[in-house]
Symmetry: C2
Subunit: 212 residues, 2 copies
Amino acid sequence: MSEYNPSQISRVKRVHRRAAYDFKTVHGILDAAHFCHVGYVIDDQPYVTPTLHWRDGNRLYWHGSSASRMLRQVKTGVPVCVTASLFDGYVLARSAFHHSANYRAVMAFGKAKLIEDPAKAEAALKLMMDNLWPGRWEELRPVRAQEIKATTVVTMEIEEASAKIRTGGPVDDEDDYALPIWAGVEPARQIIDPLVADPRLTDGIPIPDYLE
Amino acid sequence: MSEYNPSQISRVKRVHRRAAYDFKTVHGILDAAHFCHVGYVIDDQPYVTPTLHWRDGNRLYWHGSSASRMLRQVKTGVPVCVTASLFDGYVLARSAFHHSANYRAVMAFGKAKLIEDPAKAEAALKLMMDNLWPGRWEELRPVRAQEIKATTVVTMEIEEASAKIRTGGPVDDEDDYALPIWAGVEPARQIIDPLVADPRLTDGIPIPDYLE
């Protein structure tokens, strides 16, 4: 299997040509996003919480869920929607109607469960760090049992997912191209700035390779 | 009134010191975010859709909602959670447990409604453009009635909202500061890159002041 099979839940309804369901596209966007938004329902009320997420194959992880109280009660898992989005810019057209945004987004659906086994929770946290900064986990002061216990790690097998992508410039009505109106793209991206060392950093500690 | 009054729905439960409910903080984050994530529920299933949003006082707007079919049925409005988040960087501590992220996020709650009056929808779309590029609306080819009709504009009065902010470097256990481990912040931010003109742009059209 190399792509998700969308039910009515994840099938993209508007602008089909921008949709994708293949693993490569969906997983690529999930991995490129620094964080995601997790949507869940309590008493008919939707909640959307931003959080760091990470992935292992078809499985997503995140931690620090404010739904943890609910998750503790529902051992079988609760339905969630995990959305990861990258904003790539504004698209300025010659008519208001054709203005748009460039973006890459994934909506992934499944049942969220708390990881209750401390060994599995620790393995999941190590995986997060290995993804971000390979080798750092081994350099750190070892984790303590009570720290694992105090950390909420949530996981979800992706049951179905869709990606939606828009790229490129404006697409105007043919008659509008001759108008004397500036049109094009105002591109946006997320960047990482130079590192800021902790003021209490011990002298002589070099910046690790994985941060260069 | 200068701040939101949180019920159980919006009161921040974890790390209270990072929470804020005042209009200035909440609205400032909503305005700083290029886009938001809208959470809603259909048949007990949560959905989280990324979209551009804009604000007028205590009222939010967005468009192109995939929940529009549902919204057409529920004239009184459906409960949504609109979350706007800015990722400001990774926080690297000396123990895995104290790793964190810097961020600014708002969760805003209310009832979403379709704007069905074309004049009100047009006014809302003009407001979006006035916020982003003051003066552009007047330069564009005028909107047509069928374009307004084809555009889904959704609005929500903010009933309650909370902000959550983390800034600064790692906070380690006192005993860990002496460890020979690099600690600090890997800052992140969203930037706008130089404009990319449409290849079909008519010669001699200058870049407008609002894009400089």
